[in-house]
Symmetry: C2
Subunit: 186 residues, 2 copies
């Protein structure tokens, strides 16, 4: 079984008008995605932002749940948030995984937009089941990862298809479904 890593990018991502922006860190994103990550055996969940003050804020929240009152109040939350790491950008995230595993991770971008060449969930699930290189799945906040990030990925995963054309899941829901499709009990 290959190791799975997740990264939530706050830059570079699109806004509603397809301008490249930096989004704010959202407390609920960290909690929800960390809990899903813990549920599905993710090795580490990187919250990625170039904004130093936002990383400091996130650090403070994490500290509350790791060492403060939160750690006593809710142990399951502590377990989930122990997976979270804060990084500046995608390159340093890749470096962190390389340091942890000795291998460069296979970079998989996610997108709600369909396009030319997309890896299917079935293909990606098989890749996870093989004992290959670690896999880093990158999720975008805002209106999604920029073309620049998609272009440097080894694979772009197909969009999550529901029952129709509507494709506006929250990133929290998309992360949950992604992990269930990759590693949920069948």
């Amino acid at each position: 079984m290959a190791d799975i890593y997740l990264a939530l990018l706050h830059y570079p991502v699109y806004d509603k008008g397809y301008k490249v922006v930096t989004t704010s860190i959202t407390n609920m994103d960290i909690h929800d995605i960390a809990r899903s990550a813990r549920t599905y055996g993710v090795k580490r969940f990187f919250v990625v932002t170039p904004v130093r003050t936002l990383r400091a804020l996130a650090e403070k929240i994490l500290d509350h749940w790791q060492h403060g009152y939160g750690s006593v109040y809710n142990e399951t939350r502590k377990d989930a948030l122990a997976l979270v790491a804060l990084t500046d950008d995608l390159d340093r995230t890749i470096q962190a995984i390389q340091q942890e595993t000795g291998e460069r991770p296979h970079l998989v971008a996610t997108s709600a937009r369909s396009g030319g060449s997309r890896a299917t969930f079935a293909q990606m699930r098989r890749k996870v089941e093989e004992a290959g290189s670690p896999l880093l799945f990158v999720l975008g906040t805002g209106w999604g990862l920029t073309e620049e990030v998609l272009e440097r990925a080894d694979d772009i995963l197909e969009p999550i298809k529901g029952a129709g054309a509507y494709n506006h899941l929250s990133v929290r829901s998309a992360a949950a479904i992604l992990l269930d499709r990759l590693r949920g009990a069948r």
Copy 2:
């Protein structure tokens, strides 16, 4: 294909110490679950609370996205939130579906706890694929639906299993995974 309805119960649910409580309505629950509901073709998403002032607050938020500035700012959010209805309790939720469809819905409770007799996701997916009665899936806030709710359900769905024993998904993530397992493209 059977019609799917969702209900998010704020009472009666357990708190951390298994006391029966009423939880507060959370803005993020409404948005995230409505977006997942729209993605997977759910007919209506009921937000259920006996607290009149919280229903009024939710009504105000919904109005912002249905008719206020939100409806112009973000049309996809408007589409999702158009699915939301506010009800007092489970009985009135069932009545509303009966009025809408002329049929009493098949009541399916969800729980993160395993127990005696649980319907599997595969069984429930088949039930959805048949053109039978409407199905009402009930999700609990807090620490989950009380025994009383589980007992009156026609079926209790098996817990979502990830890669280990940890079973503390957010209700937003659980709703997303539930819908994907029932109706996601395969």
